[in-house]
Amino acid sequence: MLLKTNTKKLPVIGYVEKHTKKKMWKRIINERELWIISIILLVWVGIFAYYPMYGVIIAFKKYIPGQSFSQAQWVGLKYFIQFFNSNQFPLVIRNTLAISGLNLLFGFPAPIILALLINEVRRKYWKRFVQTVSYVPHFISWVVVASLIFSFLGNEGLVNTILQSLNITTKSVGFLNEGKYFWGMITAANIWKEAGWGSIIYLSAIAGIDEELYQAGAVDGLGRLGTVWHIILPGISGTIVLLWILGIGDILNAGFEQQLLLGNDLTRDYYEVIDTFAYKYGVQRGIYSYGTAVSLMKGVISVSLVFFTNWFTRKKLDIAAL
């Protein structure tokens, strides 16, 4: 009775707050080692990722390098409209969606398939070797990859030499000179470079599937394909959906370095994407406001897509990442 009365008299929310704060501090003290490790990273994220965000204000101002942000003239949506009205807008958007679409269509399943295949390898050392070799390309910079591509696909490169020596072609195929090859080439390069690295997370997810399910599947007469379809894929579906949601958010990220390194005047109509456009106007020409506006537009659309996809998958598949 007393407790009830006391409970009525006490400011309940304040009590809960105080109690929660106390719990929180206790938890921090218990986890102090993790906090000590994390604090430098949190400070780094705060300084380099969050603090500079106020600078996006220049997307709405006519900022000239040398002025302060407050001095710059407010222009509202001028640079966004300028981008939408630009003659290059359709081309830039087409190329961006095409390259990232291909990356999603082919590049997204590639690490899943690779992970499934690696998972089927029985010999332990061979499995480790294959896995290690598969993600080495991730560590090679795009500058080196571009050189490799030139060596392989150039007019006097290995591929053309083989094609001509086998009489498949009489003249060099302009893989680097013709725009029609550009999207395929860059998608293939992306898959080669990232499939191995991407498979790591799927292999971890596969490792987390309960062994009993495999045994139950075996009892039910499932073969290897059946196991993959009925046990493994459902088991890693959460990971697949999570990465899919994040991948959709990247739909406007079609790359930057690859285009600058592999592109040339003959393929400009196929390689100019949002990031190269923002770089050209924002950084090379010093119109920081324009570059910021283009990048901000891209960022807002990407975040919106992430939240939309998350809502959609929660509604339809009952899976949500956020």
Binding site: I37, G66, F150, G154, S172, N177, L266, E272, Y281, R285
Partner: protein, 571 residues
């Protein structure tokens, strides 16, 4: 419990170690990109006060060390430090001047924009584009120099003469000076043929583009492959981009055969049209398209870098070259000398020829812009009089030599200076450069400080006392002399046009960038088209796209500004 406690202590130690080591790198002021050449320990320890006196260069040595710090654009900081070390030490010892040349390994305009945004920039900036310099002037970041040049710039005034007037604003203010000002007297762009193959082919006529190509084709047919079995081409280019509307060195030099000037057609009333919007430009592309379809233009011309092109040139893959005067021989001669050894003869080199289309009065390969590139003293400069004194010194005869040739009398120096102030070329230098006896050691000249400390360098014209700020341009061998004699009329003063800039904030600037992309794209696509009709279709489409992007407005702007400058400068 004990084990748990031990684990916790260990975890805590590791966590703290991680935190400490992660922050160990903080707090240093070393810059990864910047090379402060000259701020060496030897220099910093030798800041003794010296009684004022005049050294053999005629420089009044100050009592207190004079600091000259300037940003000079894009270069490798480590190489810069190495090249400037000797000169910086020499200047500190003999001039009591602490010279610091700052370079960054990134694009100069991008770096300048960052400097403006951050407010972190040195006292002096050299080698700026005029567009960029104007931005700094407009923001009040460049000092007004009239009083300083009046007080300390007598040599500048006498050396520059009437040129100096071009740098004053309409209201009589002076914010910018220039480096490499003046009209060049040497031909810098030209078509070339490989001389031994050319002689072997009977030295055929090369006076027109068609004759030039026929000669190259004949030479390539006589040498269809190099010693490794790789195909030989008539011509090759490399992937190049130009941010300035007009063209790159290939467009400009090929265009020069058809009378275009720096990628522009100049009409009789001094209005201008961009090359692609002119009949001459169409003829040029049709010509190159024919060479490409014949398989005589290297198909990698639009994808390879200059170094890759140079490797091919060194491997004897090209009968000719059209463009800047230096790459073909720079990349080839050493390779060929090494390859052929005792069998090498002096005709194994590229030589220059004059090519002009029929109906063209004069080929126009080498534009000269007497304005040079901009030099400013920034509002961070606390002692502008010191900089003006140094600029003035660089405009003396001995000052120019010190700036361009490096320090005298040292091992590796290319010149000597006696105690009476009388200069001479170092032993062997004239034979090396003029008579090609032995190899001129460009590396030694660079390490002796050639090109380090060229701020407001006396212009590219020959110096009053002899020579040129680039030593090899004052001591030209017979090949360079022949080039300049043959092609002297292809050199033209285009200052009035080349000094036209569009301010970055002007909407025309965006149009200009877009049009630049369109024409660069068309240049490559037209040349690689499958037929003349396809080539012409590409050109027509590009002109249409450029027109919708505002080409007419841009041409009108350039025309108006050019006409204004012509009436101002006289030509």
């Amino acid at each position: 419990m004990e084990v748990t406690k031990m684990k916790r202590i260990l975890t805590l130690i590791v966590a703290v170690l991680l935190l400490v080591t992660a922050t160990a790198g903080c707090g240093t002021t070393a810059s990864n990109n910047q090379s402060d050449a000259g701020a060496s320990s030897a220099a910093s320890s030798a800041t003794a006060s010296t009684p004022a006196n005049t050294n053999i260069f005629g420089w009044a040595v100050p009592e207190k060390a004079m600091e000259i710090t300037y940003y000079a654009g894009q270069d490798n900081p480590d190489t810069n430090a190495e090249n400037c070390e000797a000169k910086a030490a020499y200047l500190l010892k003999n001039f009591n001047v602490k010279l610091t040349k700052i370079v960054y390994d990134d694009d100069m305009e991008q770096r300048l924009n960052l400097m403006l945004s951050s407010g972190g920039y040195p006292d002096c900036i050299v080698g700026m584009s005029w567009q960029e310099a104007q931005k700094w002037v407009d923001q009040g970041r460049a000092l007004e120099l009239t009083s300083y040049i009046d007080a300390y710039g007598s040599n500048i005034k006498s050396r520059m003469g009437d040129y100096l007037k071009r740098y004053y604003t309409d209201d009589g203010k002076l914010y910018t000076l220039a480096s490499f000002w003046g009209l060049t007297t040497f031909v810098s762009y030209a078509p070339e043929v490989r001389n031994d193959w050319y002689t072997e082919a009977g030295s055929p006529d090369v006076s027109t583009p068609e004759a030039y190509y026929a000669a190259l084709k004949k030479m390539a047919a006589a040498h269809p492959e190099n010693s490794s079995g790789d195909k030989t081409y008539a011509l090759g280019m490399w992937k190049i981009s130009s941010s300035r509307l007009g063209g790159n060195s290939f467009i400009n030099t090929f265009g020069g055969m058809y009378g275009l000037k720096s990628g522009w057609k100049v009409n009789s009333d001094n209005s201008v049209n961009l090359w692609i919007n002119s009949p001459e430009g169409v003829k040029m592309l049709d010509y190159l398209n024919q060479i490409y379809r014949d398989g005589m233009l290297d198909p990698d011309s639009f994808t390879m870098s200059i170094d890759e092109w140079g490797a091919k040139a060194g491997n004897e893959r090209y009968a000719g070259f059209v463009g800047s005067h230096w790459p073909a021989n720079s990349y080839s001669l050493t390779a060929w000398k090494n390859k052929y050894g005792a069998d090498y003869n002096e005709n194994m080199r590229y030589v220059y020829v004059d090519v002009k289309a029929s109906g063209v009065a004069q080929s126009a390969f080498s534009p000269s812009n007497s304005m040079g590139s901009a030099v400013i003293l920034t509002n961070n400069c606390k002692s502008p009089e010191n900089y003006m004194k140094w600029f003035d010194f660089e405009n003396t005869d001995l000052g120019s030599k010190l700036a361009g040739w490096g320090i005298p009398n040292e091992k590796g120096s290319v010149w000597t200076l006696d105690e009476n102030g009388k200069w001479a070329y170092a032993e062997g230098v004239e034979d090396q450069l003029v008579n090609n006896i032995g190899d001129f050691d460009y590396d030694a000249e660079t390490k002796a400080g050639g090109e380090c400390g060229m701020l407001m360098t006396a212009g590219v014209e020959p110096m009053a006392g002899g020579g040129n700020v680039w030593i090899n341009l004052g001591l030209e061998d017979k090949w360079a002399q022949a080039k300049d004699k043959l092609l002297k009329d292809s050199l033209f003063d285009f200052t009035s046009f080349l000094s036209v800039t569009i301010p970055t904030e002007d909407p025309l600037s965006d149009k200009s960038t877009e049009i630049n992309d369109i024409v660069n794209n068309a240049w490559a696509k037209a040349i690689t088209a499958k037929s003349t009709e396809a080539c012409d279709a590409v050109i027509a489409e590009a002109v249409s796209s450029a027109n919708s992007a505002g080409l007419a407005d841009v041409e009108k702007y350039y025309s108006t500004q050019y006409q204004k400058n012509v009436s101002k400068y006289g030509k």
